[in-house]
Structures are given as C-alpha cells and as structure tokens.
C-alpha cells in the first residue's frame, strides 16, 4: 500500500469540497456550467496530488494509462452526438464500475501475496466493491447495447434467464461468504464472474421504457462501488465522492420510480416492459382496432395551428428517435411569431434517461424557461387550445388516471386529453414500448397525424409557411 502523507489527505479534502460546491452550482441552469468546471478542478487537484505521492512506483505506466484513457474519453465525448447521450452516459458509467472492480481485484491480489505471512480473509468492502463494480460494468454495457440498438430493446424475459439469475445470485452470496471466512482465492474470480453474469441478467429483461430507472440505478451502483474501494484503500476522496454519486443515483432512481408509480423491484423483476404478451393488454389491443380514430391531414392541422392562441408540446421518445427536435423548435418559433403562447410539457420518464427531453430541446436551442415539468404544467392543459403530442405515448395515457385494470394505473401522466384539441403525431396505431393501449387516441377531441415525427413536423412547418 502507498502511504497517505498529510498533504495528500488535505488535497483529497479540498477535492471533496470542490465536488460538493460543483454539485451545488448545478441547482440552476444559469451557473451549472461553472459547477462542472469546479468539480473538474477538484479532480485535477486529486490526480496531481496522488501522482506526487513519494513512494509511487510505475510512474511511466501510470502516466501512459492516464493518457490513453484520457484521450479516448475526450475524443469520444467530443464526437458523440447529443442524440446518443443515453448510451454515452451508460458507457461512461460502465467504465467507472469496471475500474472500481479492477481496483478491488488488484488490492485483493496484492494483499493475498502477504497473506502467507499474516493469514488473511477478504474484507467485506473489497468484495462489495468487486461485486457491485462488476454488476455495474456488465449491466451498463448491456444498457449501452440496448440503447445503441446492438441488443434488442425489448424486455427479454424467459424462465431460463430467471433461473440463471437465481443461480448467479446464489453464487455471489456463497463465494462472498467463503471469502470472508478465509476461503481459497479462486472463489474471488468465481465471485467476479458471477457478478458480471448478474449484471447481464439484471438488465436484459428491462424494456426500453424502463431505461431511465435502470440508468439511474447503475449510476448509483458505480458510485457505491467507488466508495467501497475508498474503504478498502482507506482513501477519503474515494469514500466521499463515491457516496455523493451513490446518493445522486439513488435519488434519481426514486424520482423515476415515483414518476411511474412503481417500485424498483417491480421495474427490475416485474417484466413489465414485456406487457404485450400478457393477456390483458393483448385483449385491449385487439379491441382497440375496432374503435374509430379521427385522422387529420397536414393541411387541416396547419389550418388549426394557424388559428390558436396557446399550444403545449408534449415530446416523447419518438421525437428523439426521429431527431425531430430542431424541426419542432422551428415550428414553435413560427407559431410564437404569430402570437401563439408555446410551452413544452416534459414528463420525468419521457425518453431513455432522466432529463432526456430537456437535453434534446436544449440542443435545438429551446430556452429552458419554456420547459415545464408535470406538476408545473398539468393544470394548464384545460385552458390550452392545442396539445401537440410528438412521439409520446404512455406518459399521456389517461387510463393511468381512470382505468384500474391498466398496468400503468396510478402513474402520474400529462393531461393532454384535457386540452381543447389534441393532435397526436405517431407513426402508426401500434401501442408503445409498454404495449398498453392508449384511450387518448379515441377521444372525440383527439386527432391522429400519422407519420414519423420529423417528417410530419417538417411538412406542417412548410404548410404553415406557404399559407403565410
């Protein structure tokens, strides 16, 4: 182990304070950017101080590794499109989890070397760092694969997967117990393999619509794994920073669960995203095809929009997929220029990660003062002329308020159905990811505008411009 001289400890304390100040500045978009820079300064301080530790070996290798990782990280972060942010966040999170697992493993191997002299049982914090870090690494990579389209976004639930999960979970408990009791080092690698397997098995059954919960949860896992390595290495910087991240991830996970009115166990083990296969929703889908829907043409929609005073735009994952945010902003600008009051209603779980819609709209240059969350805007729908739903589905489903048999009953939703008129831009009548039918589409004041989000909004825009 490397000794902890006083100046190193003090630098870590200063770094931790800078992290907290940085996070505090995230409380307002106006000075959030400086908060991130303050946190980065804290990180630089911790890094430089660590590199100056007197008895540090392999300095050349350390600097090489830092350069490789740092350059790769910066290039990746600069090149990634804003629309690919969810998978980028998942990937970075996985790297952190992997690093925590590797640090734990390395410490275990090093201590085992001396164990012949002292006699040794693995420490709980080391095993915790290894297991949670490995789960986060594997889980984040699967989440990355799902978001990137490399792994099916569908909720994959099968009996075999469930049994495999139980087996690896048992292995994790067994190996940990043996190692704590001083068992053979081979169990350490069994534990690592089992934790990696559990990470895969945990995220595979998660459907796309539940991604915001999983991403937040994995975020908190990596934080806790980093904190655990801090316990193992007796390093306060790691304990404090890891714990801050763990708290943040936990809080976001709670918020996301609350926004869906579900518990975390229900999200992870409920197999909810596979809803289409359950009898209730399938029957609902069949009945749905019988009910009439009102379709509206681009021309008629343009005429309607040209004659309103207030508009609320409800974006969903469909807008992200079609990358329609710029077209949407242009449409909003044009209407605003004609005196229409335009607002955006953002549901907490719209998209694939917390705040997904906000980032996309910010990229399209929509000022954040026009973005409102559920509690702020829901009472406005009743006195709004048109609610324009773009690629959102479950988050505007009135069944969540009224239909006790609906799988999403009790979930807080945006009351788009209460606006004078509701225009829904949607590719087809297929139900969303959760496979739940949406009564909003059959309401008398709802009009369906079929098409992909970008195409439909662009055509609306042209129609409005040509009619002046």
């Amino acid at each position: 182990m490397i000794a902890n001289p006083t100046y190193l400890q003090l630098s870590y304390l200063a770094a931790a304070i800078l992290f907290i100040f940085g996070l505090k500045r995230l409380s307002s978009p106006a000075h959030a950017r400086s908060g991130n820079l303050i946190a980065a300064a804290g990180m630089a301080l911790a890094l430089v101080a660590t590199l100056m530790a007197p008895d540090l070996g392999h300095r050349g290798l350390i600097l090489t590794a830092l350069a490789i990782g740092g350059v790769a990280g910066v290039i990746g972060a600069r090149r990634v499109a804003i629309t690919d942010m969810p998978q980028m966040v998942a990937l970075l999170n996985g790297l952190g989890g992997g690093a925590a697992a590797l640090v734990s493993a390395n410490e275990f191997v090093q201590v085992s070397h001396h164990a012949f002299v002292h006699g040794h049982a693995a420490s709980f914090t080391n095993l915790f760092g290894l297991a949670i870090g490995s789960i986060s690494f594997a889980g984040s990579l699967i989440a990355f694969g799902k978001l990137q389209g490399l792994v099916s976004e569908k909720a994959l639930t099968s009996g075999a997967l469930r049994i495999a999960n139980i087996v690896v979970a048992t292995l994790i408990v067994l190996a940990s117990g043996l190692l704590l009791g001083g068992g053979a080092a081979a169990w350490y690698w069994v534990l690592m393999a089992a934790a990696l397997g559990f990470g895969v098995g945990m995220v595979m059954p998660i459907g796309g619509a539940d991604m915001p919960v999983v991403i937040s949860l994995l975020n908190s896992f990596t934080g806790l794994a980093a904190a655990a390595t801090g316990f193992t290495l007796d390093n306060t910087a790691l304990i404090i920073s890891g714990t801050l991240v763990g708290a943040s991830g936990t809080l976001l996970t709670q918020l996301m669960c609350k926004a869906m009115n579900r518990s975390i166990t229900n999200v992870l083990f409920g197999g909810f995203g596979a809803g289409a296969s359950s009898s209730g929703t399938a029957a609902g889908g069949a009945a749905a095809t019988q009910k009439p829907v009102r379709e509206i043409s681009i021309a008629d929609a343009a005429v309607l929009l040209a004659n309103i005073r207030s508009l609320i735009i409800v974006p969903g994952y469909g807008m992200a997929v079609a990358q329609a945010q710029h077209a949407v902003r242009e449409l909003a600008d044009l209407l605003a220029a004609h005196g229409v009051e335009v607002k955006y209603a953002i549901h907490p779980v719209a998209g694939r990660m917390p705040g997904h819609m906000n980032v996309l709209l910010a990229e399209a240059n929509v000022p954040y003062t026009q973005l409102f969350d559920l509690d702020q805007i829901n009472s406005d729908f009743a006195h709004t002329d048109v609610a324009l739903v773009i690629g959102a589905n479950d988050v505007v489903n009135p069944a969540a308020r009224t239909d006790k048999s609906s799988p999403i009953y009790g979930m807080p939703v945006l009351d788009a159905d209460e606006a004078q008129h509701c225009i829904v831009i949607k590719r087809s009548m297929n139900p969303g990811f959760a496979g739940i039918d949406n009564p909003l589409y059959y309401e008398p004041n709802t009009m369906m505008l079929f098409g992909d989000a970008k195409g439909a909004v662009t055509k609306l825009l042209e129609e409005l411009k040509s009619s002046g």
């Binding site: 182990m1 980065a40 990782g69 690093a99 890891g242 000022p367």
Partner: protein, 99 residues
C-alpha cells in the same frame, strides 16, 4: 471495529446526507447533466487505480492496475467533457443566429 473503520463510516454517513441535500436541489431540467456530471465524479476511482498500480508487483497486478487506470481516466475525462457540452446548450434565451 477498528478506529479507522469508525472514521470511514462517519465520513460515509455524513457524505450520504450532504449528497442527498445537494442533489435534491438540482432541477428536473438538469437531470441528464447531473447524471453525467456525477458519472465524471465517480471517475475519481482512477485515484484508486493509480495507487494500486503504483504498488503493483508482477505482470498480473500491473495489468489489472493499468486497465483500472485506463478505464477510470476515460470515465473521468469523458464525463466532464460530455457534461460541459450539455451544459453549454442550456440557456434562458435562444442563441442569436445559427451555429
């Protein structure tokens, strides 16, 4: 319990409260940057990587440590850059002109 562990647990417990207190003030609008920002902060685990690599013996320990530092550094650098790119876009008024 050793005094070291007691101190560590104290720090941990206080950090939990500070974390919840600070994070609960972050507005919904900034939840994605919050996540990628905290992502960057858990990149601090690279410090752990440096320390274990710095005391590693033999190729196995060295390669484990090397990989840990590469992962941690990528996490940290990527996290801060991505967060900065996102936060740069959040404005209260539209940018004048096109980029």
């Amino acid at each position: 319990m050793s005094p070291v562990l007691i101190t560590q647990l104290t720090i941990f417990a206080l950090a939990v409260f500070v974390g919840f207190e600070v994070i609960s003030k972050v507005p919904v609008v900034l939840h994605t940057p919050l996540m990628s920002g905290t992502n960057a902060i858990h990149g601090i685990v690279v410090v752990g990587g440096i320390l274990v690599l710095g005391s590693a013996h033999g190729w196995f320990e060295v390669s484990l440590g090397f990989a840990a530092v590469v992962f941690g550094a990528a996490n940290l650098a990527g996290g801060f850059v991505v967060t900065d790119r996102m936060l740069e876009m959040f404005r209260s008024k539209p940018r004048s002109g096109k980029r």
